[in-house]
Symmetry: C2
Subunit: 148 residues, 2 copies
Amino acid sequence: METLDRQIVALLTEDGRMSFADLGRRVGLSTSAVHQRVKRLEERGLITGYRAEVDYAAVGLPLTALISVVPFDPAAEDDIPQRLAHIPQIVSCWSVAGDENYVLLVRVPTPQDLEALIAEIREAGSCSTNTTVVLSTPWEGRTASVPG
Amino acid sequence: METLDRQIVALLTEDGRMSFADLGRRVGLSTSAVHQRVKRLEERGLITGYRAEVDYAAVGLPLTALISVVPFDPAAEDDIPQRLAHIPQIVSCWSVAGDENYVLLVRVPTPQDLEALIAEIREAGSCSTNTTVVLSTPWEGRTASVPG
DNA sequence: TGTGAAAAGTTAAGAGA
DNA sequence: TCTCTTAACTTTTCACA
């Protein structure tokens, strides 16, 4: 990946609504040249979308938790992600190496909602769970960059 | 939070570059009315920013891991987040209830980079670590919505 | 891949209900 | 808090280097 594209990606991960004119100024290209590059990055799938970032507490979802998941029957076919995909409170689902099969990141309004969600996950996923409540979030979703 | 604002937030978390004209059409308001509402949501801090989403593998960061962290000295003042904040590979840092104090989400190019990063975290944070490698990501950063 | 220019579309700010 | 208006800006496309 080229330096110029890396710069463009870095700028857009920090401000996803930056105009092509500003982007161009920052990387030293004309508006239409950055425009073409951004379109190419989107087409090639390096940029997969744009999202507004939200204050989850302000929006009614103050409780975050990490839930690790182990299937009841280790011999059964593992289609847990498909069986959990319809649950909107599950924000992220990672398949992991280690004692657990999956780690889920969930967001809910209240402890009661968390309790109900855990029951729902156990039932829908035929799995046991181990829940770790997030107390505070020093930071989240920071822009990662390639070292070197 | 009002239904209209909730709709606007939901639409912008799915497409952070949607134009105010389109947003207005989707929620049944004039362009300038949605515009005013979005600006107010930004001012009140409900919308905290906009980011491009990136295919991390394509961008040179194919390895994701979750690292849980326990300080060497449980009696010492806990300023681990400040001591780790300068490490750009740490994308998220959650303070958690349970056996560990923090869980970190990290992204690196190679297993060698992960090894070096773990050593750096142990040293900078004066902590022991327990690393869980992410094998695949069925989904991540999905839009959470308030139930009901 | 890049540039610059022009048409089409969008944002922002103000006046009025 | 909404709509309408208008000026300023941005995006998109195109011909050409």
